[in-house]
Symmetry: C2
Subunit: 176 residues, 2 copies
Amino acid sequence: MKSFSISTLAREFGLSRSTLLYYDQIGLFSASGRTAAGYRVFTVEDRRRLETICRYRQTGLPLSEIKHLMSSPKSKAPIGAALRKRLSEIGAQILDLKKQQRLIAAMLKNADEQRGIVDKACWIEMLRAAGMDEAGMMRWHREFERRSPGDHHEFLASLGIEEAEIQSIRRWSSLA
Amino acid sequence: MKSFSISTLAREFGLSRSTLLYYDQIGLFSASGRTAAGYRVFTVEDRRRLETICRYRQTGLPLSEIKHLMSSPKSKAPIGAALRKRLSEIGAQILDLKKQQRLIAAMLKNADEQRGIVDKACWIEMLRAAGMDEAGMMRWHREFERRSPGDHHEFLASLGIEEAEIQSIRRWSSLA
DNA sequence: TTAACCATCACGTTGCGTGATTGTAG
DNA sequence: CCTACAATCACGCAACGTGATGGTTA
């Protein structure tokens, strides 16, 4: 009779060796035999069981459920009920994911708007309206650069100013 | 200043105490103070940080990512990039779930069809076509019941026969 | 004193992945 | 002898939940 080693079987089903070891450990899928040295030996019938397991796994059923479905005598357990339960879970999960989508979309929109609302021109206008002139702004840049160069850089970047211009501003700011 | 205990804050945000303990443990969200006895004391500013964390959490971002976004100085980290990455993850997950839906739907349909295809009438017809008569069928039931009562019951159920009729059949089957 | 808080471990969950160490087949 | 397998621990991950044990507060 044909037999398979653990890695061979794993590759055949696109699983990893450790996955099969795990299935063995939880009593879901064990080799029906061992060699004298203790190597697992899988038969064609084992292979069929694994095929079934993989099909169930692709429905997202938990392994404990799959184990239960397969250990109880042929289709005594209400497989259909388990599948229908899983269907409703999937529905709930999809709804949740869509909520997340909408939330993220809203957050991205907000971020974009805010980035548009307070940009370089807007900031300058605000300072000017507050009575600051060119010389005052230069003094302000120098002060900012002296106190916290990192935050200065970050602030300029937050206004959407290009890296090159930022470098230029910071150069003359530090030439006190 | 107003301050909050851990359980109060948890309830306010619909979280559990252990969740906040966990956030503290991983360095995502800690109380800014403690009482003499070691009790955590949260301030209104802590409360604001927790609010932000909760918003991010509702997008499904991993806590490690949220921690990163909040620990780096204001919006230096590309929040937008993280959100967009999360968006694509969500898309992939939804696709996967829909695949599962389709698979389950197919399996349920198959199960229903099979249940419909081989029912009581069909089975009797097949046996009759094979040359079995009433007496033969009764002998067959008795033999089945004698060899494996459990499987007999299960087989009859698999043909869609009502529990009451199954009981009846098995009663006269065992009256050998 | 009692009840309802609080604190800090430490371990369980799900489905594996990743070594470490050691043995075996060819 | 070397390489590619095999085996069995044991620990790590995410995001908490669930006790155990003991101190604190009203």
